[in-house]
Amino acid sequence: MTSKVEPPQSEEHMAADDRQKAVFDAAALVKDLRAAFSTGKTRSYQWRVKQLQSIIKLADDHETEIIDALRQDLSKPEFESYISEISLLKASCTNTIKELHNWMKPDKVKTSVTVFPASAEIVPEPLGVILVISAWNYPFLLSLQPIVGAIAAGNAAVLKPSELAPATSSLLLKLVERYMDNSAIKVVEGAVEETTALLEQKWDKIMYTGNGRVGRIIMAAAAKHLTPVLLELGGKCPVIVDSQINLKVATRRIIVGKWGCNNGQACIAPDYIITTKEYAPTLIDALKAELEKCYGKDPLESKDLSRIVNSNHFSRLSKLLDEDKVSSMVVHGGLKDKSQLKISPTILLDVPEDSLIMSEEIFGPLLPIITVEKVEDSFDIINSRSKPLAAYLFTNNKKLKENFVKSVSAGGLLINDVALHLAVDTLPFGGVGESGTGAYHGKHSFDAFSHRKGVLYRSFFGDAPARYPPYSQGKLNLLKALLSGSLVRIARALLGWA
């Protein structure tokens, strides 16, 4: 915590830490949660709503502490912490509470004449005990938003926040202990060792937010227990910029989506821009001008930019930037301050395709621009790479939009804005291919942590003798008619005319 934290509180903290280490027995933890789940208490509507309300209360009561923790972990500006972490989480709780009753209702479904007389419904039921492993870039939101889904669907859950955002991680441990039903919702802090111990257990679903390398480890561990996974990964999210657009609005939206989202350390941040050779200079000028308006003449001093999370990531980004064939391509920014872990918003033009910066996810404040002859060519560039989590397009050309939607595969698409689709929770949020498996947000979160159980009610009447042996040609005919679902054919078969 920051210097505002008083000694008694940090002692309490240490006590919590010690307790954690002393009792951390992953098998026992899961056993306890299973016992809580099997009492059925997490299934009740009241319990779910109460837990969701507690999350809102937790966020309201401790807003300052949360903002402080995020500042400590990432130098995240208060504004960003509020907008992209706290308020999104609260909105997701509020919306879930509002809709939960509807979501929990079984869906009545129509049955065909083949199984007549019968009625059927699809009943959403909780999966059981869920493991959520979250990431360091939005350490508050990405920890609790999946928990909202797990609770809404009536599960017990364990949260393992990222050890790379230690202040938020220990704050989450403290607050969840204080506000939530600890027999069913638990936080476990730790790094690789703890995560490995957790992954050895049998879970009913594992949700992981992070990178593809760890995603593979998680899925392989899950396979041992046949546990389904939801993997929110990343990828190189492209932004196509067409000409003849409102350039001022477009550049501002790109800026807020790239540098205004944790200084590019976001899975949906624009990774690179594709534009035409002709338009690139105009776009670069606009970006430069707007960047100065947003972050001043010396962006390293701006309070409105997050820092790079730690020195590992700082050197990783420096390496991308310092590669021989890349360093000469910087057209804006490129300033670094190692002591403060800050890198200024940096734009690069025409970096080679085989450079490091174009082969891995950047996850930082560097923005390469790739140029093409015709804007239509950008689709081929995107499709020749692995599927990104998001793809963006700025254009007024209707035909181009249509082609974009038709031919570009990505987790989600957003036209004429950046990152905003994340906040529309009627849209499923999740990747495809290398960018992940499964989706969440809103009702999709509820579904991600539910099993949709088909229930068929039959009566003892209406038995088709054709189903049963001894078999005959007549039975075969009747069966064909029954399966076809055609009443006329059934009548003909029964009359022996088929």
């Binding site: 907008i83 199984v115 159980k453 088909g454 068929l456």
Partner: protein, 478 residues
């Protein structure tokens, strides 16, 4: 198998060209499946008879008919399934429009099993095609006649640039699993399911796993006539479909102790009525698939404590791979027959003091693919639905949910993940892509840096949808 690489390159290219995306192509292929089935029914019946001794009625009911129905349903529904769905947008994000657009995943692998070697290959393929994918089908080597028939027929009826059959055993499956797929759809055992998912993890490939498990049937106290219907349906759900070698077959029965003798009597009588009194010569019944499974089933019966619990049947004929329909009463619960999926013609009956205890009995075991219950007690039905977990629940019948495409078919926990049938098949092979369209008008300026207190206040109100508060803020009153 040689030429696998080239095959995959060809298929990826056809997907890349976008040929499989058009509704016209998808419909053409679905019609191709209907023609394949319609024109080759006899050959399919023969192959199924050769592999499993399936009677044509059974082959039609469980395989040919199911595939036809699925293909027709997909054809009729395709335009609706393919249409983008509108999604609601909160006021603050407007003007905008949001759509969920289903798109094909790419190149998918379907690994099917030997018990319904035709329908479990074709039914997932219908979903893959409907969703606009290219697909490789790997039929089971344990049903060789059907496998080679599929390899022969599919290239004649379906687009060979996009849909291919690759035959082979474990070595072929292993090689296939090393490749990168956009989805793997597997039907089979949990053991192999784990192998498939581990292999998929290397490429982050999503999986649908259709596994099995021990599906129980609860039999409550029923009137004479209802019991008669229940018995018929249990017998047909156990022995009538591929001789119990079905993932959704009744694995064991749970019944109150006092009702067990009557239940056993009725089961015996019904078995005789259906299959004749000479149980050594049954025409209307499939056989055990192969020597390996025959031995496995015999071993389940070998345990003396299990053998002594046999109350009906139990005779074996190794030459014909035939096992008589067999009923056991209260075999030890820790014996293999009660811990492993039986997947064959043996039916244990477990007795309980009270039928309500069945809920706890089921909950203490891995989640089954299906839970069957024969009861007229509505509150008991409610309890079963709310307090147990299984892939699906069917009251007062067996197996019939499989042909009801409005019901998602798939397991949970040990019985599998993902679901298919009807629209669910389409979804299993689609990515639901969220698409948000914005305009350049009405920019929400407070989103942008430099950030200030006013902007924060503004956004707080906006996120709370407090539009009145916003007005006050702008008037300087807040």
């Amino acid at each position: 198998m040689d030429g696998l690489e080239e095959s995959l390159v060809v298929m990826r290219e056809s997907f890349g060209r976008g040929k499989t995306r058009s509704a016209a192509w998808r419909k053409l292929q679905l019609n191709g499946i209907l023609n394949l089935v319609g024109e080759n029914e006899e050959m399919i019946f023969e192959a199924l008879n050769e592999d499993l001794g399936k009677h044509p009625v059974e082959a039609y009911r469980d395989e040919v008919g199911v595939v036809k129905k699925s293909a027709l349903h997909a054809l009729e529904s395709l335009d609706r399934w393919m249409a983008p769905k509108k999604a609601y947008i909160p006021l603050i994000f407007r003007p905008a429009k949001a759509r969920v657009v289903p798109e094909p995943l790419g190149l998918v692998l379907i690994i099917s099993s030997w018990n319904f070697p035709f329908s479990l290959s074709m039914d997932p393929l219908i979903g893959a095609i409907a969703a606009g994918n290219t697909a490789v089908v790997k039929p089971s080597e344990s049903a060789p006649a059907t496998s080679s028939l599929l390899a022969k027929l599919i290239p004649l009826y379906l687009d060979p640039e996009a849909i291919r059959v690759i035959e082979g055993g474990t070595d072929v499956s292993t090689r296939l699993l090393e490749k990168k797929w956009d989805k793997i759809f597997f039907t089979g055992s949990s053991r192999v399911g784990r192998i498939v998912m581990s292999a998929a993890a290397k490429h982050l490939t999503p999986v649908t796993l259709e596994l099995g498990g021990k599906s129980p049937a609860i039999v409550d106290d029923l009137s004479n006539s209802d019991l008669e219907v229940a018995i018929k349906r249990i017998v047909s759900g156990k022995w009538g479909s591929c001789y119990g070698q079905v993932c959704l077959a009744v694995d064991y029965i749970l019944v109150e102790e006092r009702l067990a003798p009557l239940l056993i009597d009725r089961l015996k009588a019904r078995l005789r009525k259906f299959y004749g009194s000479n149980s050594q010569d049954l025409k209307d019944i499939s056989r055990v698939v192969n020597k390996h499974h025959f031995t496995r089933l015999c071993n389940l019966l070998k345990d003396p404590a299990v053998a002594s619990s046999v109350v009906f049947g139990g005779s074996l004929d190794e030459d014909r791979l035939f096992i008589e329909p067999t009923i056991l009463l209260n075999p030890p619960l820790d014996a293999e027959i009660m811990t492993e999926e039986i997947f064959g013609p043996l039916l244990p009956i477990v007795t309980l003091g009270n039928v309500q205890d069945s809920i706890e009995f089921i909950n203490s075991r891995p989640k089954p693919l299906v839970l069957y219950a024969f009861t007229k007690d509505d509150s008991f039905k409610e309890q079963i639905v709310a307090q147990t977990s299984s892939g699906c629940v069917t009251f007062n019948d067996t197996c019939i949910q499989f042909v009801c495409e409005a019901i998602p078919f798939g397991g949970v926990g040990e019985s599998g993940q993902g679901r298919y049938h009807g629209k669910y098949s389409f979804d299993a092979f689609s990515h639901e892509k969220g698409v948000l369209h914005r305009t350049f008008y009405l920019e929400l300026e407070p989103r942008h840096p430099p950030l200030s207190d006013f902007k924060l206040k503004f956004l707080r109100l906006l996120y709370a949808f407090d539009y009145w508060g916003l007005v006050l803020l702008f008037l300087g009153l807040k």
